[in-house]
Symmetry: C2
Subunit: 296 residues, 2 copies
């Protein structure tokens, strides 16, 4: 599901829910922190029945109604948000259904830095990567158009409507004109949450999917030997907010394998090795390392 | 300064330093957390002299040497990183200078969520916005090329080298072909830190600059009534790591003004108002609000 923005208590938030493998997950972020609740469908249904004893409907219809509620796309849907002492957010969503209130409540716990990385930072980096790839492809297409236009011109063809004649595309000038605009024009959207909704939302699902695939396939590409950060156990923990703890500093660990000598540095992938700052850390000898450590 | 990547203790990190207004700031991130130290030039020089009593040089040259060290762009530069109990990182950087070790140490404290937002999340969102704008401009340029090519074709011009003839550009097909590639091809860089260095670094400085401008000019654009998140006091705190505390939940507050009635909802900018989920929160009456609150 796409992120939806909403304002409560003068603050802007993004909300997203997902329904996968019989589990219902809900995420709220203010782009600083991320809160989440992860429920089984049974737990969600029980809560729904407890809160709406007058509503009689099948499980499927109840689940569907909850999903409609958290889509926040009807003006009839009302939301409340309270923060309690344990860094938890209590989200209430409700709407009138045939004159009777239908409501559901979520208790969202503060997610770990790993979860913020997985839900926000990592998809954003993938989006930039994706858009840079597209940009290169578009540069390439423009150059091909110019070659074709040159061919017509060399064939002696003159254009009658001068106003539709284009100047040859120059990547450097294009990029320069954009950075000049930055200086001269105030930004269109200075609010990052609005900018996220307008510019990132469409790409989000695709880009967060490819990350999950990368995490899942990490075991299958031994020649890469790279994980997107978390070993599979940690990763499962971070998707389950009830277990998620703030493990600052756990970081993105690049393990070569459990049978690996602790002293051996991990070999760097080709792309990373092209930067000098990484190259120099490639397989230093034990002697060299202890010498470095002696320095401090 | 650009972010540099380095591997230490099997973990990949990004490092960046800045030298502004007589202050030296250093940032390290693993994309989950951000650590920082902020020193005055005097403090930095004193530390440098304490650690390198044998090096005699002017203040300017010492500062220059430290900057060269933290650029990490020589294979002679050695780095160490230790994590201590107070969530602090100790970074040691050293290099041999005419046969004598020249070294400096930094004690970086864990930054607040606000600082991570300012240094990482917010620039990333700006990058996506910038790249989307560029993409739209490139789509537009391609359509103009096609109009020109059409004009030649309608003039009866035939191309001799058929292989340089292009097909008319179609935005939808272009985007579709890219999402198909996603499914069929494994991602080129599955490591987010490497992807950041390869795809985000060039845009970073520009995009983090425009954010700072937006924050600074917030008082000057009353018709927008939006801040990029932090009121000016909080913002200053978050740039000074010694004062920075983890204030989860402080969030991005959209204040209309201090003389504002607490009960009045903040008006939404045009862009935000185009999403239905926000529209409905626009100026509900007090009566409506208390009704919502009664629901829970």
């Amino acid at each position: 599901m796409m992120w939806k923005q909403f304002i409560l208590n003068k603050k802007l938030y993004l909300l997203r829910n997902s329904n996968d493998n019989g589990r219902f997950q809900i995420f709220i972020t203010d782009l600083l922190s991320l809160w989440t609740e992860d429920l089984s469908e049974e737990e969600l249904l029980q809560r729904c029945k407890d809160m709406n004893p007058l509503h009689e409907a099948s499980s499927e219809i109840l689940i569907q109604r909850i999903n409609e509620l958290v889509e926040l796309n009807s003006s009839e849907v009302k939301t409340t948000l309270t923060e309690n002492k344990n860094e938890q957010l209590e989200l209430g969503v409700s709407s009138y259904l045939k004159g009777v209130i239908f409501k559901i409540k979520f208790l969202l716990s503060l997610g770990s830095p790993e979860m913020f990385f997985k839900q926000m930072t990592s998809p954003l980096i993938r989006m930039v990567e994706e858009l840079q790839e597209r940009q290169n492809k578009l540069f390439d297409l423009l150059n091909k158009k110019d070659i074709e236009i040159d061919e017509y011109k060399m064939g002696g063809m003159k254009i009658t409507r001068k106003n539709i004649e284009t100047t040859p595309f120059c990547k450097e000038e294009f990029l320069k004109s954009f950075s000049n605009e930055h200086v001269e024009m105030p930004r269109k959207s200075i609010c990052p949450i609005t900018s996220f909704i307008n510019n990132c939302n469409e790409l989000y699902e695709e880009c967060s999917k490819s990350i999950e695939t990368a995490v899942e396939t990490e075991e299958k590409i031994p020649e890469e030997n790279l994980t997107t950060g978390l070993d599979s156990k940690t990763d499962k923990e971070s998707t389950s907010p009830r277990k998620a703890k703030s493990k600052r500093g756990t970081g993105i660990v690049y393990e070569q394998g459990s049978d690996e000598d602790d002293e051996t540095y991990f070999s760097i992938p080709n792309q990373a090795a092209s930067t000098t700052s990484v190259k120099k850390e490639k397989s230093p000898t034990k002697k060299k390392r202890s010498r470095i450590q002696d320095m401090f």
